[in-house]
Subunit: 408 residues, 2 copies
Amino acid sequence: MTIEPIAGGSITSVPGFRASGVACGLKKNGALDLALVLSDWPCVGAAMFTTNAFQAAPVLYDRQTVAANPESLRAVVINSGCANACTGEPGLEDTRATAALAARELGVAPNAVLVMSTGVIGARLPMDKIAQGVRQAAAELSATEVAGHAASRAIMTTDTVPKTLAVRVNTQGASWTIAGMAKGAGMIHPNMATMLCAVVTDASLTPVTARSALQEAVDASLNRVTVDGDTSTNDTILLLANGQAGGAPIDSVDSAAYRAFVQGLTHLTIALAKALARDGEGATKFVEITVQGARSERDAHIVGQAVARSLLVKTALYGQDANWGRIVCAVGYSGVSVDPQCVSVWLGELELFRRGAPYDVDEARAAAILARDEVGIRIDLGQGTEQATVWTCDLSHGYVDINAHYRT
Amino acid sequence: MTIEPIAGGSITSVPGFRASGVACGLKKNGALDLALVLSDWPCVGAAMFTTNAFQAAPVLYDRQTVAANPESLRAVVINSGCANACTGEPGLEDTRATAALAARELGVAPNAVLVMSTGVIGARLPMDKIAQGVRQAAAELSATEVAGHAASRAIMTTDTVPKTLAVRVNTQGASWTIAGMAKGAGMIHPNMATMLCAVVTDASLTPVTARSALQEAVDASLNRVTVDGDTSTNDTILLLANGQAGGAPIDSVDSAAYRAFVQGLTHLTIALAKALARDGEGATKFVEITVQGARSERDAHIVGQAVARSLLVKTALYGQDANWGRIVCAVGYSGVSVDPQCVSVWLGELELFRRGAPYDVDEARAAAILARDEVGIRIDLGQGTEQATVWTCDLSHGYVDINAHYRT
């Protein structure tokens, strides 16, 4: 099989999907703030949601809707600027009204429409603006590349760049397109869940294979990202499959077609996960942390997350300081049992710490590595053969700037 | 019983303890960097150490020494500027040599001397400077107030103020002095352990009651502080009791005298814990988070720590933004099972969120509360009667400044 990126690809690269992105006044600066995605055919859908106990109204609504109607979903409305979280029953009513409004405009059943929201927690959706936005977005739906990219811009909050891409998966028996868009730059620490992410495909899936494929892909991608350790109230990833690629449906998780689809989907979601870390709030560096030599992949993941979450590691990376002691310190408090005498650490290809003892750091080489936009950290625990990679970013003055005055 | 602070108190407020603080060149700026505390009589000692898997050489040494010789400890040498962590067997040898050197200068047994170190991880102790410092510190030992305060300054790293105090505990049957000094401003997230802290008393304890009292006091104080979520390789708290107050020894954890001593000790360690949070790296605000209405004290503590660790809560506090959604979000991902409909949140006395629904925030009152140097957050989980308080600080540009270039 092959996985090829589609140049300039987006949601609308998948046959049978149209999209739009409009500005309806949710963002004070007049930027795009409402996206609509429509499938011309009914879709099999699967979704994963935040594990936060405070689940935003659209999370509660989508969870119920996907469970009740996993085989004939048609559209998703996504607004930025207001998370509609911690808004109680009135907030849930606003979400239902949003879906109903879109259903009427699109001529589909209300329970065929999903809703995602992102932005400030605790504020109600301004429904007059939402109504106007949904009408305009429905009118502007298009299968063009421009429309797909507008949708990906409309879901941004503190993101500095839109995150969207599409891939073509070719196997011997079939060929599918998978496309996705994601947003998220802060409050990013998915925990068996993720940030806002919509993925569409023309593959033919069943509810069971869609759910399974999504879980596998998310575990290997969006669940490996952290920006600031805060798990949001609104994290949602949605997969919509309209089956327009034709061919036999992927109806078994044991089939070769399923494995190929999971590979393609994981390729896409890893690219989106990396894009989220790269655009972390205030980030000046993208950081890939690989933990190898672990007893289990889970151990490797836990150690990687501890290092990725460490404020001291993140600020040292921002300061371009090869302060490996902070990396080792985070390994030590991760909760995974490690033997200090077996642990080694590399910055890029430069070894800093070998089996419990420091190397004299070649500060010139370290400085050259740390001056780059992308930094790799490798940690060998020396106790097994499993590994995991996590992605994060540094912690800069910019993060503090952005978050000291987010509401105001 | 009564607990009275001693004005200007420090380690030397306790009868039979002398101290000194000298500059031996470990700090580039010539500031005090080596402290020595000596008891004129043998002490019963107890200690608690970091749970980090990478334990610094002085942690390994002290653990062994306190276990082997808990009833005739005499002195502790504390250096700042170099943590002597991740330095392998040579680092351990340096710690042993430091203790031996001090023992010779003081005329006591080598296993009567403990060592603590704090500073950069991974660098070896410059033993020539340590030797010179230990000799000078031994020569300058004094029971004066000035000497006690010099010792507390010599253990500072990024601390902006020394943290030391002494209290007088009066009970019907006895009267003791308890004094302590602590350091720590970053890499502060004790986990069944603490930062560097030395506590001395003239109470008469046994190894068992000393250890038990220390554990109780630390659980209620230093284990309730977080600055940045990073648990250090060097965290150590040491209690030395020389018995000079006279009276019957406190030899049972069931005695009234033991309970009174624990109360006094906890009073002292809470004050030191608050001082650490208040002086967190870059902190502009001291934050006290009380979680009530919990099923257990442990649940309350877990929720409090999640809020205290949240970068988004901490940056909002820095920005004086009453962004209660971030507080609620952190409650939701803390791992404690909560019912959103039962949770309420207050900022100072201002209610922000009542049983799952937002209040319209009185922004003027919120701004006035957030303009203060000390901010209280109260969270009621509405599911029980237990509570816990944790202490932290905000996250400012200053934290990033300090930690981007710590080594350099």
